[in-house]
């Protein structure tokens, strides 16, 4: 399998190199001229390839509709992208500590991520949660946990991205607002974002927590609440990244991501909001995979498509509604545990693509992602990758530096064309909700994932260390392994149990009754969740109460019953 040159070691320590192999590699040429997503590309692009391209109408300057070249005319001269590393580890206190570390090292935005137990909507003392609390992020069971996580962070100054994607985002929102109010912040001034894309999260293993109607309901409740009360807050990050990680290609990422975004938009319009009331606060999470030009073209295509979609389909008038705002997460699925230091290089290329694509906020994976949660050294290395890019390379000088490239413009057109075709396919199925309900999208993901593996098995796609230039497997992770201290979870569990024993049950029960009532009448649940959170209702209690109203079991894992019957 290895393409390295065969050498024979002599007893005296010298080596006989196979010079035939050497010669072969000298004359070797790439075996494929397709992009990662499988598009055939020409050997050379010329002005002829741009004949049909009307610059003003289709491309435009950065800062002008349709925003192909970027959202702002001065791009990074106005402000660097936000250097934001995802942090979520052990207890709320552990997570706060690591986030503070990233800040000390020059990170410019906070990004905290929920663990599997929280995303599933379980309290830490749930029998299914006990084994896994804190292994992949942080669980916020009660407002006390949120207080610990916030600590001394100035909420009106720091841009904080709360990564709770599932229906639990509604609980996160309530917990966040309560802590902010306790600290006397005017919530209308709070900046930051919440991921809040429960529809997509069914594809990430959280189907029990994210039935489709409940996802649309609670996701839109958060969006509507923020539109009315927190105008500076970005209330959803539609997660195209997680879709891409399922194995799909670049244009499918855009098409299916937009399909999901439209589910929320349609619901908000049904609730009587106007597109320009809320669209300026829509954001996206985009993947940057390892095919450099393809990812840049994908981002440019997405920007143009979103602008047209908002203007032409939804009748937006405010240019801010037409701006595709996005964060990039470099592609976790492009990283491998074989020869793990190579991941640093992959991440750097992916981050460069994100920046040349005009990213607003960037998370670089840490090189140890295929092995464990990031170690402190891994986190620091990822942050430094961003800083080298920002401060050393000069890529911040000029907006959309690849704009006008015959190849990039052609590839941008190609991806737009393919993505539009995909969106039409979904439309013909009856729309994205239908594609989800009938599990059409599940099948699509499964087919594509198998295809991707076969490409690697057949060496149609080459991965250094995996199917080319492989070497003896490593026995050690170069910068050490991140372990989660068991006592962190145990302490959090016993604190939650103590809190549950000490609550004023009458006040709590009344608050839960009001939440149930509001949900039954189809009203926005967030204000009632906020009030219940003040009475120390927990995540599982907030969500379970709404779940029951919607006809679902109180507990997604169907183990425990509502304590409020």
């Amino acid at each position: 399998m290895s393409q390295g040159h065969e050498t024979k070691k002599n007893p005296d320590g010298s080596c006989d190199v196979s010079w035939d192999d050497y010669l072969k590699s000298y004359y070797e040429k790439p075996q494929s001229a397709k992009t990662w997503s499988g598009y055939d590309v020409q050997e050379l692009y010329t002005p002829d390839d741009l004949v049909k391209n009307d610059y003003k109408k289709n491309v435009g300057d950065a800062g002008d509709y349709p925003f192909t070249r970027g959202l702002h005319r001065n791009m990074f001269r106005g402000r660097y992208w936000t250097r934001r590393e995802v942090v979520g580890i052990g207890s709320p206190a552990d997570t706060h500590e690591r986030a503070a570390f990233c800040f000390e090292q020059g990170g410019s935005g906070l990004n905290t991520i929920a663990d599997v137990t929280y995303e599933m909507g379980l309290d830490v003392d749930h029998p299914w949660a006990e084994n896994e609390v804190g292994l992949t992020g942080v669980n916020i069971t009660s407002v006390k946990d949120m207080e610990t996580l916030v600590g001394d962070i100035p909420l009106d100054k720091v841009s904080w991205s709360l990564i709770t994607a599932s229906t639990a985002a509604a609980a996160t929102m309530a917990q966040y607002v309560v802590v902010a109010q306790q600290k006397n912040y005017d919530i209308s001034l709070l900046r930051g974002s919440i991921q809040n894309d429960p529809i997509h999260f069914r594809y990430c293993g959280f189907r029990p927590a994210c039935p489709l109607d409940l996802s649309v309901k609670l996701g839109s409740d958060v969006m509507e609440y923020c539109t009315r009360h927190m105008p500076k807050f970005y209330y959803t990050t539609v997660n195209m990244y997680d879709l891409r990680e399922q194995g799909i290609n670049a244009h499918q990422e855009v098409a299916y991501g937009f399909g999901i975004a439209m589910c929320y938009i349609d619901e908000l319009l049904r609730r009587g909001l106007h597109i320009d009331d809320f669209a300026p606060r829509f954001t996206f999470y985009v993947s940057c995979h390892v095919d450099f030009f393809e990812e840049i073209a994908k981002i440019r295509a997405a920007r143009r498509m979103w602008a047209k979609l908002m203007k032409e389909k939804y009748g937006a008038k405010d240019p801010r509604s037409m701006q595709f705002r996005f964060a990039v997460h470099t592609a976790g699925c492009s990283l491998v545990p074989q020869q793990p230091l190579n991941n640093i290089v992959r991440i750097a290329y992916e981050a460069l693509a994100a920046v040349l694509g005009g990213v607003q906020s960037l998370h670089c994976c840490s090189y140890d992602e295929p092995m464990c949660l990031p170690t402190e050294k891994g986190h620091l290395q990822a942050l430094r990758t961003q800083q080298i890019l920002a401060y050393e390379t000069g890529v911040t000088n000029v907006a959309d530096p690849l704009g006008g490239s015959y190849y990039i413009e052609s590839l941008t057109d190609k991806i737009e064309e393919e993505a539009l075709r995909c969106m039409k396919e979904v439309e013909e199925l009856g729309g994205m909700e239908e594609a989800i309900r009938t599990e059409w999208l599940d099948r699509k993901f499964e087919i594509e994932a198998v295809k991707r593996q076969k490409e690697v098995d057949n060496r149609d796609k080459l991965i250094v260390g995996v199917n080319i230039f492989d070497s003896e497997p490593e026995t050690k992770t170069p910068l050490g392994v991140q372990r989660i201290a068991e006592q962190s979870a145990k302490r959090q569990i016993s604190e939650v149990q103590a809190l549950k024993r000490s609550r004023d049950m009458t006040t709590l029960r009344e608050a839960i009754d009001r939440l149930r009532d509001v949900a039954s009448r189809g009203k926005n649940t967030i204000p009632a969740m906020i009030e219940a959170t003040k009475a120390f209702a927990t995540t599982a209690e907030l969500l379970g109460t709404v779940r029951e109203v919607m006809g679902y079991p109180y507990d997604p894992m169907q183990v425990i019953e509502s304590p409020f019957k």
Binding site: V116, T117, M120, W128, A129, N131, E132, L135, T136, C204, G205, F206, P208, E245, Q246, G247, C333, V336, P337, Q338, D368, E369, P370, M371, C372, L373, F445, E446, A449, V450, R452, Q453, K454, V456, D457, I463, G465, V466, N467, P473, E474, T475, K476, T477, V481, I484, M557
Partner: protein, 134 residues
């Protein structure tokens, strides 16, 4: 049902939701001629072993991607012992540090395939180690 076919149970235990890999492996083992039962997510160690007994499986394949491998592996091995599944191959795949591979083998896992493993290596290993079947 072909008595001579290798029968594999694949599953995930606990809450870990990363199921792309396990579903791909299930499909590719089927294509390699094995009989494969994917139990889905959110299984318990007891549930996986019960299924392995009921299905008379030759191989149990587990996928871990959320750092839960050292929590659940001893429980699985313990349940296998209790049910007398000493001749059933226990194979694990997913994301974990190389340091944990010998640890899991010590616990009783027969073979470990980390991310980036090629399908052929998994198929070859299973075929060589489930004697008398193909």
């Amino acid at each position: 049902m072909n008595q001579n076919k290798i029968k594999v149970i694949v599953s995930k235990v606990g809450l870990d939701g990363h199921d792309r890999g396990v579903k791909v492996v299930a499909t590719l083992l089927k294509e390699a001629g094995m009989e494969v039962v994917y139990l889905g997510m959110y299984q318990t160690p007891e549930g996986v072993i019960k299924a392995a007994v009921d299905e008379d499986a030759d191989v149990i394949g587990l996928s871990y991607l959320s750092g839960e491998h050292l929590v659940y592996t001893p429980k699985i091995v313990d349940e296998m012992r209790k049910s007398g599944l000493d001749d059933v191959l226990l194979v694990v795949g997913g994301s974990f540090p190389p340091e944990d591979v010998p640890v899991m083998k010590e616990m009783g896992v027969d073979e470990v395939f980390r991310g980036g493993s090629l399908t052929e290596s998994i198929v070859d290993y299973i075929k060589k180690n489930t004697r008398g079947k193909s």
